[in-house]
Amino acid sequence: MSFKAIDKKDMSSFVASLMDEMEVVGPVAKDGKFVFSPVKDYAQLRLDYNITLLSPKEYFLPPEETLLRYKLGETVQSEPVIETKPRVILGMHPCDINATWLLDLAFSTDNLDTNYMEKRKKALIIGLDCNQPCDEHSFCKSMGSLTVESGYDLFLTDIGDTYIVEYGSPAGMELLARHKGAREATEADMARFRAIQDAKWPKFTYKLEMSVSDLPNLLAISYDNPLWEELGEKCLACGSCNLVCPTCYCFDVMDRLELNLKEGERVRRWDSCQLPMFATVAGGENFRKSRADRLRHRFFRKGKYLMEMFGKVGCVGCGRCVRACLVDIDPVEVYNTLKRTCAPRGWAERDVAA
């Protein structure tokens, strides 16, 4: 596979050329942190960002999205609403690319969710490698999401004054052909590229004390672990972890009637499995009443259920939930504590490569 390179001095014209063709979404600074936002000017882009508050999932699964519009009257006229526009998401880190891959599976398996998939199909993803951890909370390496196998169209690695560019799809190849800026990578570029690759791995030190593939088995023997009750005591059930999670995709659906009472829409909105109403049925029964039950459900979903459904772990180790959590519930600590407290009851100790 041949590598291309874009020198940073040429990046501005490359991005400007992209903007002529489609919406460009990328990381920008906001209140001392970073967010993904449509960008009109290259100078706004902060490709040196560490992590964004929310993942770019909102461009495929907006926090609130209209599913139907209808008119009431003698009869009802109801039309599906699928709003899409071509866009490129620039600077997606490997964790978020992996998360998007999981969402793609969730929305395309069994029943094709066209509201998600149409947005996804029209979007191009230009990834950006992480040469160091975002901060002390990221554990992407443990979750296998410091690397990406696929799910991007182009992938950039910052090697100083140049980005090395890899193709991930024919669309990415065409994009590079259509927009000026890329050149062939030289031997010297590639030597720096390899040196950066080698240097980055030891920097990611915060980790699970087990292999990610052991998580489903660990959880299978941890359903009754007293840790869930302990965490349930701490957890405020605020749902922040769900909102910032790049792989959370549960939603609620509601109708909204215009003031004229003749037109309305049905919308879906991000929801949180940590809120008491989430699993409550009309008769008032709630099948996950306690905070401990709901917290356990979230961990099981991430570490076991989604893996069983899609063959891919439901957590990418971005650490957003830890940063958002008001009481510092940290998945790495949770899983490691489960492992330590499970060991006497038959958990097979294994060596985990550093």
Partner: protein, 276 residues
């Protein structure tokens, strides 16, 4: 711009043909799809019903798949959507998505004795299966129905109950927790009906639908009759918002009830601690 792309969330329109007040809280709605198609459901499946402007909610289909042209929903007035349904008149329009879910495993029941144990509103989904079985009566063994309600005024489908009771080929027992002055029948929770029946445990399939608290006690009775775990079926009520395995609301452990259920065998449920 009208979109040509199909959406999982677009309902088909249906018209209310007939509305009957069954009890103080429950109405029976008869509907037909505006495009003239049959619903094509299996007993035990559910549909998502839209009251445009109010919302969408899941309801089991209470009519038998053997009775085509229209379909029936038995709805208790308990929330926004159901309140709006209860205000509707014949001719009112709703949206329908589905049928969704697996339904009862009727093929596994053919040739066997059947024990139906509906409690309260649980009769609504089970009635679909009971009437299918009665319409195809010759392909099943004994049919035993044990029905329990809180009080006589909450008994659903009283005309049909009388017909079932009158049939020679149905063993029908009914009980209420709280009798009124006119009640001359059994009094007590549904489990008090079990001593009245004998079953051949090797050839019986049991199906029970009711509130979770009832399941705990009914399953115990069924097991003590010697019926195997894999031949006991239950239907679970969950908050199925989307019906298509996406929204997450109906998930119990690793199972989306709208996809793998709502009907489960007791063998399956033993692996799902969040089920009951």
């Amino acid at each position: 711009m009208a979109d040509q792309i199909s959406s999982l969330y677009q309902p088909t329109l249906a018209e209310m043909v007939k509305i009957e007040q069954l009890t103080e809280r429950e109405k029976l709605f008869t509907l037909h799809l505006k495009d003239g198609r049959d619903l094509g459901h299996r007993a035990g499946q559910f549909v998502e019903v839209s009251v445009f402007g109010v919302g969408e909610a899941p309801f089991s289909v209470t009519s038998s798949p053997t009775r085509n042209g229209t379909f029936e929903l038995c709805v208790r007035e308990v929330g926004d959507v159901t309140r709006a349904l209860h205000r509707m008149k014949p001719g009112s329009i709703v949206g329908i998505r589905g049928p969704f879910g697996n339904g009862f495993p009727i093929e596994e029941m053919r040739g066997r004795d059947l024990l139906f144990v509906p409690g309260g509103l649980g009769l609504a989904p089970l009635r679909s299966l009971i009437n299918q079985v009665l319409d195809e009566r010759e392909s099943f063994g004994r049919v035993i129905i044990l029905y329990g309600a809180r009080n006589p005024s909450e008994l659903l489908f009283k005309d049909e109950l009388a017909q079932w009771e009158a049939r020679d080929d149905v063993e029908f027992h009914v009980t209420v927790d709280q009798p009124d002055e006119n009640w001359t029948g059994n009094v007590g929770v549904i489990t008090t009906l079990f001593p009245k029946i004998t079953v051949n445990p090797h050839n019986t399939v049991a199906v029970t639908v009711g509130p979770p608290i009832m399941y705990r006690f009914v399953v115990k009775e069924l097991l003590s009759k010697g019926i195997q775990d894999g031949r006991i079926f239950l239907s679970l009520e969950r908050r199925m918002k989307c019906g298509v395995g996406k929204c997450g609301h109906c998930q119990i452990n690793n199972v989306y009830v709208c996809q793998k259920g709502p009907v489960f065998s007791y063998t399956q449920l033993k692996e799902l601690p969040e089920a009951i």
